[in-house]
């Protein structure tokens, strides 16, 4: 082969290079790819689908599909007696089932006008705040996992197991607790519960502070989470945000403070707020809320009033078993409650509690029948998850993953 001067001057990969310049001008820079995030993507904790339009790493737009675990709670609730709806509320936000359970009980108590004793209120507060800790622990440790720090997750899950053990002492179940009854609790706190709670209150802050020191001021974690998925307070309100996600955007709306239920007005606690509404703020708000929850539990436990652990509403509260065997009246009540034949007043009531993710509301319309005529749940996740495309537009894919986990979208609550 004879080389000429021209050949030497000519660029070696002439054709390819021209093709490459063409690509970089027209296609590579302006290339828009479609990325299907979900429904079974390891980075989405739950079953959600997001069809992203991405330019390289940058997200241009996102389209959501939900409803993959739609279970028709509201339709089931129209067929179940009042006391059988409690297990349904468990499965809405299964990270903090007791809050939902008690929210439902309080709704029915509001409807029937039951008089609830202080002791029941305080007992409920203890269980609900434990549930809030459990909920926030899952969310915050999973933010850690998504930034690449698995240690925190394995560490706090050990403590979370202790909360499960406390639930077990009260109701026998771990996750879907079905705790309490309409009117109070099925049994008083056992001596073992007192022992375990004291132990938990002693050991948990230490472990929690260690977890906090792993992430909260960690340079890598902060760089990774700050400005990831921010939302302004104004937009958050328009999108119906509630709970820690709204507070991270700087708005101090908390149902516990605004419309106190279950004697929350007795306790001294602060409502932490963030500034930017980004992933880091959401993380920090949840961290502080865990501390405040501990404070509330301590106050409630130290001032636990004496009294009965349930209200005096024989038509709704199951009588003790030995009474059922030996007392005609108790037997009748037992039968009526179990068969769901207790008359309830006709009425319409809305009651809301501060759940793990925000305002969990129950809109109950009763026509006096054995089951509600209509029961609508306000599921906070369902309402605020709409904002997700707006929050991740212009962000990178890895930030989108973080945003999703910091919003703490629970599939059961999302899809109803």
């Amino acid at each position: 082969m004879n080389w000429t001067e021209e050949d030497e001057k000519a660029p070696l990969f002439k054709q390819n290079e021209s093709a490459r310049t063409e690509l970089s001008k027209e296609t590579i820079d302006g290339e828009i790819a479609t990325l299907n995030l979900g429904p079974t993507h390891p980075a989405t904790h739950g079953i959600f689908q997001n069809i992203l339009q991405v330019d390289g790493e940058k997200i241009l737009s996102s389209e959501q599909t939900v409803g993959y675990i739609h279970r028709a709670f509201e339709k089931i609730a129209e067929r179940r007696p009042y006391n059988q709806i409690t297990p349904l509320t468990d499965r809405l936000n299964y990270c903090s089932s007791p809050i939902n359970n008690m929210g439902w009980h309080m709704t029915v108590e509001k409807l029937i006008g039951a008089d609830i004793s202080k002791r029941v209120d305080y007992m409920r507060v203890i269980i609900m705040e434990l549930a809030r800790i459990a909920d926030h622990l899952v969310c915050n440790s999973v933010i850690g996992v998504d930034t690449g720090a698995l240690t925190g997750f394995t560490y706090v899950f050990q403590e979370r197991e202790k909360i499960y053990e406390l639930y077990e002492e009260v109701c026998g179940a771990r996750l879907t607790t079905n705790v309490g009854r309409i009117g109070g609790f099925e049994r008083d706190f056992s001596p073992e519960f007192h022992k375990k709670l004291k132990n938990f209150l002693q050991t948990f802050p230490k472990v929690f502070n260690e977890f906090d020191s792993l992430l909260a001021r960690n340079r890598i974690f902060m760089d990774r989470t700050r400005n990831a998925g921010p939302i302004s307070g104004e937009r958050a309100l328009e999108y119906g945000f509630t709970g820690p996600n709204l507070r991270a955007a700087g708005i101090d709306y908390d149902v516990r403070h605004m419309n106190p239920y279950s004697s929350y007005q007795d306790f001294d606690f602060i409502i932490p707020v963030g500034v930017n509404g980004d992933t880091y703020d959401r993380f920090m708000v949840r961290q502080e809320e865990i501390r405040q929850s501990l404070k509330i539990i301590e106050q409630a436990y130290n001032n636990l009033p004496e009294g009965d652990y349930h209200a005096d509403i024989p038509e709704f509260y199951l009588p003790p078993k030995d009474m059922v065997y030996n007392n005609m009246e108790a037997l009748i009540y037992h039968f009526k409650i179990v068969m769901g034949e207790t008359p309830v007043p006709v009425g319409e009531v809305y009651h809301s509690v501060e759940g793990g993710n925000g305002e969990v509301g129950f809109h109950l319309i009763s026509d006096g029948g054995r089951s509600p005529y209509r029961l609508q749940f306000r599921r906070p996740c369902f309402i605020y998850y709409q904002a997700y495309p707006e929050m991740i537009t212009g962000q990178t894919i890895s930030d989108a993953v973080l945003t999703l986990s910091s919003l703490n979208v629970i599939a059961g609550e999302l899809d109803g």
Binding site: P39, T40, H41, P42, G46, I47, G67, Y68, I69, H70, R71, A72, K75, I76, P87, L88, D90, R91, Y94, C95, V138, F153, T154, Y155, F157, Q158, R160, E161, Y164, R174, L175, T176, A411, G412, D415
Partner: protein, 186 residues
């Protein structure tokens, strides 16, 4: 767990005799790669099972395989709605043989308390299931028990099972296309 005695080894001077099936079974059983298909409440209990207290890694399941192509065991934990059914079936079809399915929780096994218009009444209507774990949700101990039973199945599976007519017939019942190794070899 895979003890060497289970292999029924005949030891001699300078040689060991056992059945290939047993060796392969033990090897597979101790390195099952699970694909967690966790949708709802049971997924949280599954997370607890993976966590440090129950520690699924003890059973050779340290690595969660989120890609169906590299997974051996499909763990379906939680409610599967009719909308999600085709997705689950596709995930199952994408897994390479041999594959096993563990159905965790009442919803996955039978629809559970959700006997409604939108919920699939048991995943065994769309894919074959090897082990069912009841409970709503099952405790981590129960999930571990289910996994140990899967291990037993894996360990004792005959090498020819996946080629057998019964197995092909089973998949045909579910309208699942077999990527038959014998067919593709030809």
């Amino acid at each position: 767990m895979g003890k060497i005695e289970d292999l029924q080894v005949i030891n001699g001077e300078g040689y060991q005799l056992t059945r290939l099936e047993k060796v392969l079974g033990t090897a597979r059983a101790n390195s099952v790669w699970p694909l967690p298909f966790a949708t709802s409440c049971c997924g949280i209990e599954y997370m607890a099972t993976m966590g440090s207290n129950y520690d699924l890694a003890r059973f050779g399941m340290e690595r969660m395989s989120f890609s169906p192509r590299q997974a051996d065991l499909l763990i379906v934990a939680g409610t599967i709605s009719k909308k999600l059914g085709p997705v689950l079936k596709q995930v199952y079809e994408q897994m390479a043989e041999p594959k096993w399915v563990l159905s965790v929780g009442a919803c996955a096994c039978s629809g559970g308390i959700f006997d409604t218009y939108s919920v699939l009444q048991g995943i065994d209507r769309i894919i074959p299931v090897d082990v069912y774990v009841p409970g709503c949700p099952p405790r981590p101990e129960q999930i571990i028990d289910g996994i140990i039973r899967i291990h037993e199945l894996v360990k004792n599976e005959p090498l020819r099972r996946r080629y057998s007519d019964e197995y092909k017939h089973l998949l045909k019942d579910y309208n699942i296309e077999t990527n038959d190794p014998e067919q593709s070899d030809k």
